[in-house]
């Protein structure tokens, strides 16, 4: 499944979520959830526990064991929603909304497991998207863990200097400022450095890049994507009629 074109994977996940909300509850959402669960189970890729988003796709292996990890992640992520729905709503609303939300969660968890960000960037560039657009997502995915690690170092350094993030509201807000300010300012100071690095690599506005290894986009996959769009439009028309 990880060999499918990134756009096909995105289309599958988006169509499942759209159909979960478009089709009548609870059976429509139950059907989409069943499909999402089967996809997760046979995804052929596992999630690395604790890994950051976008870096979770790991080694491909046949069979359903890695898929169990994907499915369990989806169930654990969706479980709190069922609890809160049960507190706030009656049983029929809980089931209807719970199935829809679980479909959404399972589809995205599956997508994260099977879609490598680098392949998505290659596919976007090959499809004619500007390299800058592809850069936005790839750069954010790589910057988040770096900044989170830096935030943790700042927290530890400020604690060594005697900063206490405990007590009343005033001390906590002051501690927040003392922790957040160095993080944000250091990140902003990197903007020029990163811009220089990109310019030196030829990423200037309007420039077209050549993808090194574009994922193959077969005719059958393109047909599946159009069929999914047609299915969603048909479901929308049916519901509005």
């Amino acid at each position: 499944m990880t060999r499918l074109h990134p756009f096909t994977l995105l289309a599958l996940a988006a169509a499942l979520v759209a159909l979960a909300w478009l089709l009548p509850a609870p059976w429509g959402a139950a059907g989409t959830l069943a499909v999402a669960a089967v996809l997760a189970l046979f995804s052929g890729a596992g999630l690395t526990p604790g890994a950051s988003p976008g870096s979770t796709g790991t080694g491909m292996s046949p069979g359903w064991r890695p898929g169990l990890v994907v499915l369990r992640t989806a169930v654990v992520t969706a479980a709190p929603f069922w609890l809160f729905l049960f507190i706030l709503h009656d049983v029929s609303t809980t089931v209807a909304l719970g199935l829809r939300i679980t479909t959404m969660v399972a589809s995205v968890v599956w997508l994260v497991a099977v879609l490598a960000p680098a392949r998505l960037v290659e596919a976007m560039v090959a499809a004619g998207w500007r390299a800058g657009t592809a850069y936005l997502f790839a750069a954010t995915l790589s910057a988040v863990p770096v900044l989170k690690a830096r935030a943790q170092r700042i927290v530890e350094a400020q604690r060594c200097r005697g900063l206490s993030p405990r007590g009343g509201l005033g001390p906590r807000v002051r501690a927040l400022r003392a922790l957040a300010l160095p993080l944000i300012l250091s990140a902003l100071h990197e903007v020029d450095e990163r811009a220089l690095a990109l310019e030196s690599r030829g990423l200037v506005p309007g420039a077209r890049r050549t993808p090194l290894a574009p994922p193959p986009d077969r005719g059958a996959e393109r047909a599946v994507r159009w069929a999914l769009v047609a299915l969603c439009v048909a479901a929308l028309v049916w519901r509005l009629a």
């Binding site: 809160f84 706030l88 939300i101 936005l136 957040a180 990140a187």
Partner: protein, 189 residues
């Protein structure tokens, strides 16, 4: 969009997402997930701010899929921050905090229909519990949902505006001058 502004988008989006580590450290009931959007808008205008908001939502969706429908809120936050920057409301805490409170009201009004229709007001544990409190106080389902969103957004956006104001004033003038809107946002141009 120049390369510097292109680079600012992922940096600002990553700031929004990395601040959760700081919030965890001080144990305050805040999100600060619009900090990067507001900061990017105050530095470089609405286009960069909207791009930051969309990228923040897209990347956050990979962690928690329920974030994507709220991308609309990020766009409205960027437009509001642009108006605030044009008016120079980041020049002091006295002007920034009321502006942030105003954004809290607008953000909760915007997010309530999404939260109510799509998620039944269960987007986060805090919002679900304050919504339950609203129901216990006799509010209608939609009213209780607004109550839940308002309680979480009102203070969060005021703190976010105050934090962005601190950053803009702490930036060296030479660095600030490299971004087209920074000096105007703090009333220095």
């Amino acid at each position: 969009m120049s390369v510097r502004l292109l680079v600012l988008v992922p940096v600002a989006a990553a700031i929004s997402l990395a601040l959760s580590a700081v919030v965890d450290a001080v144990a305050l009931p805040l999100f600060l997930d619009t900090t990067g959007t507001i900061l990017a808008t105050a530095l470089a205008g609405p286009g960069v701010g909207i791009a930051t908001g969309v990228v923040t939502s897209a990347v956050n969706t990979l962690r928690n899929p329920t974030f994507w429908p709220f991308v609309v809120v990020q766009i409205i936050v960027a437009l509001y921050a642009w108006a605030a920057a044009r008016a120079g409301l980041f020049r002091s805490f006295r002007t920034a905090i009321p502006a942030g409170l105003g954004l809290g009201v607008i953000a909760s009004v915007t997010s309530t229909p999404i939260s109510y229709l799509v998620f039944g007001c269960t987007t986060t544990g805090g919002i679900a519990l304050t919504t339950a409190l609203g129901r216990a106080l006799g509010l209608s389902p939609l009213g209780a949902c607004f109550f839940g969103s308002f309680v979480s957004d009102f203070g969060d956006k005021a703190v976010t505006f105050a934090l962005v104001t601190s950053v803009l004033h702490a930036l060296p003038r030479r660095t600030a001058a490299r971004f087209p809107w920074a000096l105007r946002a703090i009333g220095a141009a």
